[in-house]
Chain length 415, copies 2
Amino acid sequence: MSEARLKSALAQQASKTLNTLTTEQKNEALLLMADALITEQASILDANMADLQRGRQNGTSESLLDRIALTESRIAGIAEGLRQIVELPDPVGLIQESFDRPNGLRIEKISVPLGVIGIIYEARPNVTVDAAGLCLKTGNAVVLRGGSAALSSNSRIVEVLREALSRSALPADSLQLIEDPSRASVDEMLKLNGLLDVIIPRGGASLIRNVVENATVPVIETGAGICHTFVDESADPSMASDIAFNAKVQRPSVCNSMETLLVHERFAREHLAAIADRMQAAKVELRGCEATRALIPNAKQATNEDYATEYNDYILNIKVVGTLDEAIAHIGEYGTKHSECIVTENPSHASRFLQAIDAAAVYHNASTRFTDGFEFGFGAEIGISTQKLHARGPMGLPALTSTKYRVYGSGQIRG
Amino acid sequence: MSEARLKSALAQQASKTLNTLTTEQKNEALLLMADALITEQASILDANMADLQRGRQNGTSESLLDRIALTESRIAGIAEGLRQIVELPDPVGLIQESFDRPNGLRIEKISVPLGVIGIIYEARPNVTVDAAGLCLKTGNAVVLRGGSAALSSNSRIVEVLREALSRSALPADSLQLIEDPSRASVDEMLKLNGLLDVIIPRGGASLIRNVVENATVPVIETGAGICHTFVDESADPSMASDIAFNAKVQRPSVCNSMETLLVHERFAREHLAAIADRMQAAKVELRGCEATRALIPNAKQATNEDYATEYNDYILNIKVVGTLDEAIAHIGEYGTKHSECIVTENPSHASRFLQAIDAAAVYHNASTRFTDGFEFGFGAEIGISTQKLHARGPMGLPALTSTKYRVYGSGQIRG
């Protein structure tokens, strides 16, 4: 039996126990896990050093190495993340609906764990701990398949966490790490129907596309974000500049940052140059349509391919539009249904934009950077769903549950 | 462009209008559709006759022909189904949550249509109308791909319904029928990411498996049901007999009927023979384990393959078990997570069964046949989900919606 199948089967078996545990038992396990990360940090840092050395030998980029790197303070932050999950309400066992039928049947809809969650992700070892914590808190077993660049770190972290679990009411097998670094182990996970209940990919566009295209296990798609800010004719100039600047520059590498600024032509004539100056002063490369380049001569020409690209970088497309409808149509064509913003003082334009745009989160006069579990007040998130089934937007703990109908009778049969 | 892609693109376009309509506009369209089915019934019956004649020439089974066959009274029933959908509350536009963040952002979670729903189904032409009604009521466009055996009926019905839509506020393109009877049109639908938001298969196990294994569009899996009834030691004998008989015999062809009866050995010794007699008197073929055959000598030997088969027929497996845990383990191995029942007078056994069994609906002292949208009080259903994501169990109108976060700011940016 392959590693992926074996470990998923062990996780499936463990999930039957997880399903019966109390919130207190789960929280206790999370606290033991947090403590163990601190107690065992020396060995985790050693393992992380091995990843970093191997990465340097292989010519891994400095930015990727930085994402892999752990320090005492990063480990402390990761452990603190687990303790924050303890504080979140447990969504499992909640009776969502309860009703009586005329024939005397009482029906309850109760939230239950999903079962076994597969997480396929890239380099950052903090995802290993976050994902484990969120899944276990919701009574789910978890099968992790992290990127090979952080394999030593992830292996040691999971060893430490499983050892902590073995001192708790949760089976150590609730947490599994697939260590086979080959693509074959991912391909196999994608088809483990019956052992995995859902797969959540976390990472770049190509990782997510591979999962969506090849999985037969149900998937929650996350992450890809080509987000727009539309600055309407009536926008407050200083608010528009602040929101656009924040959406682009505050952290360009993340999915809810802005890739394309749409500007109403009348606003553009008076105020676009100032916004462009501010962007360029922050080293943002500008790519514009013809009308933009007429106003900002040093912007490059934007192509349709640019509009369809998630840069996650200091690059911004700018397009001047004649109407609200033109902005809505552009977003309909190039958006990824993640986060979209209108800056306007016109309430009916705001209302129409928020209604017509099909996205997980639509904003009036606020930066798209707020699409985030913590910013929404949900606490840690397992990802940001960009699909429409099951969960949409930042996924807090309830997104990791399913439901079950419990039906109580006294001998009812169907006539 | 292929028929499937073209019609899905038209549906996607129409969904942008649907999304903006009021409940009244949608209800008016449904009523026009219901009226049109009655007004145009002669031509629908003619088309249906063509299907039946072609079926007879091709040697189609009488039971399938019966499922395809329409009559005036069946058409009246189908039209009445649309009128009932009008009466159901519209789940779209419901503000599910609304909260303010410390930074002044107001966040609303609002229910929205899924967008475009693809339905792949088999013979019965009533599904064409039901599915159209449920999808349109929830503001979704719908792309139907019915079985070729009912193609003439479905084509005429959709023509009639689209003509009715053209007299309503809803675009006629909200409703599409793929008429290409080849497997290629199904295969293509399964990959139309970006045009279809979800695919719901309705039909037999092989149709559903094909969709689940090959779709890259998100799927809601429905229908396969290997359902069990466990009669515990303490069960009331007459209640147990009534529930088991109802679960098997009331309508064996449907997914929530019972395939395997599990019986505690002490109950079996005294009461299994009487239940078996009642089943056999109703022409149910019995297949049993060794212990069953010791009590009911004319039962055939049940194999593991039998336990894994959804008969949808007058055949029943019987297995004698020594403990509640053995029953739970059998269901864990062979169940399809649809509907499972325990008959017992022991409350702690009931509670343990309802907790441990992982299924859409778990019953104490009532027939599994109640897993049904109407029986649960939801009204017409688009199917019974046997997966854990998005919707589980009977899917009423809310299962055909997604959500969107609307965020209202006054210039907030992220620090």
